[in-house]
């Protein structure tokens, strides 16, 4: 039950975050909004890390630092900047569903790079996602 409540809180927080972005982007550029959100996000998570995993910080050195740098650059400046730029143009309700296909992409990478197996349910899921993306993107915006 706890997991379900935390899961709902996570999904709700992300959605609320998207709405806050849409509001902030009326006054700030995507670059400034991304920067402010990353700084605030870092402090929030770092306080929790210091409280719960203080010893893990000492373990961060050598190659893992390089991996973290790559992960941080791909996920945050690049991913979040594109995320906010798209929210500014198409809106949070249209952009957020499209971000969700990242899960499908990660699994496709797993199949290609890590030889993970493909099954009928996975293919069906990917097709349903594609239908959803087409439904949203083919909408007539001139109405």
């Amino acid at each position: 039950m706890e997991g379900i409540i935390f899961g709902i809180c996570a999904a709700f927080s992300w959605a609320l975050g998207g709405v806050s972005v849409r509001i902030a982007l009326q006054y700030l550029s995507p670059v400034l909004t991304t920067t402010v959100s990353l700084i605030v996000g870092f402090f929030l998570t770092f306080v929790i890390v210091l409280a719960i995993f203080p010893n893990e910080i000492h373990g961060i050195q050598g190659p893992i630092l390089l991996w973290l740098c790559l992960y941080g650059t791909l996920n945050f400046p690049l991913g979040r900047y594109l995320n906010y730029s798209s929210i500014r143009i198409v809106g949070v309700s249209r952009a957020t569903p499209i971000f969700s296909i990242s899960t499908v992409l990660a699994i496709v990478y797993g199949i290609i790079l890590l030889d993970e197996t493909v099954n009928a349910q996975l293919v069906l899921g990917a097709v349903v996602v594609l239908i959803g993306v087409i439904l949203i993107m083919s909408e007539n915006h001139d109405k």
Binding site: G3, F6, G7, A10, F12, S13, W14, A15, G17, S20, R22, I23, A24, Q26, Y27, L28, V31, L32, T35, V36, S37, V40, F42, L44, T45, V49, E56, I60, L68, L74, N75, F76, P77, L78, G79, R80, Y81, L82, S86, R88, I89, V90, V92, S93, A95, P97, I98, F99, S100, I101, S102, A106, Y109, E116, L122, G125, I131, G132, I136, H141
Partner: protein
């Protein structure tokens, strides 16, 4: 009379927005593969925190070029802070959920995030966002598809 240039501009703009959204999904998907290597050594929340730090440092370089033209009042920055606060709270809640329940339970709940986004948009920013049946159907399809794909791994 229809202004062709304005329609072309709008069309290009909307498609550019979708292209950015696909680019973001591509970045997130790729970073998940990179994250797989990291979380074998350190806790995912520690990885997310340091990822945010590297991200903030990189973005600060770009942001420094916009400082002169940036708004001087504090209001817009507080609004942007809420964005960071809620996004990171989402990450923390996700790890709490995964710590207390298996992925098969948590994953479908996380996948309904687009539905929440549509509901909250219609409540808080209905003057900025137009919610249509087609959009709701599309979001439901994507959430269902993501649930199917994630559960297929188990």
């Amino acid at each position: 009379m229809i202004n062709r240039t304005s329609i072309r501009k709008k069309f290009t703009g909307i498609w550019l927005g979708y292209l950015f959204a696909l680019g973001a999904a591509f970045s997130y998907g790729t970073s998940q593969v990179v994250a797989k290597n990291i979380v074998e050594t350190i806790h995912p929340l520690v990885a997310a925190s340091f990822g945010l730090l590297f991200g903030a440092i990189t973005m600060s370089i770009f942001a420094s070029k916009e400082i002169k033209s940036a708004p001087k009042s504090i209001g817009p920055y507080i609004k942007a802070s809420f964005a960071g606060l809620f996004s990171s709270a989402g990450i923390v809640f996700m790890f709490l959920a995964l710590n207390t329940s298996p992925l098969v339970v948590v994953s479908p709940i996380l996948a309904i995030n687009p539905i929440f986004a549509i509901i909250l948009s219609s409540i808080f920013i209905n003057r900025l966002e137009k919610i249509t049946i087609r959009l709701v159907l599309g979001a439901v399809c994507i959430s269902t598809g993501v649930i199917l794909v994630t559960l297929s791994l188990n």
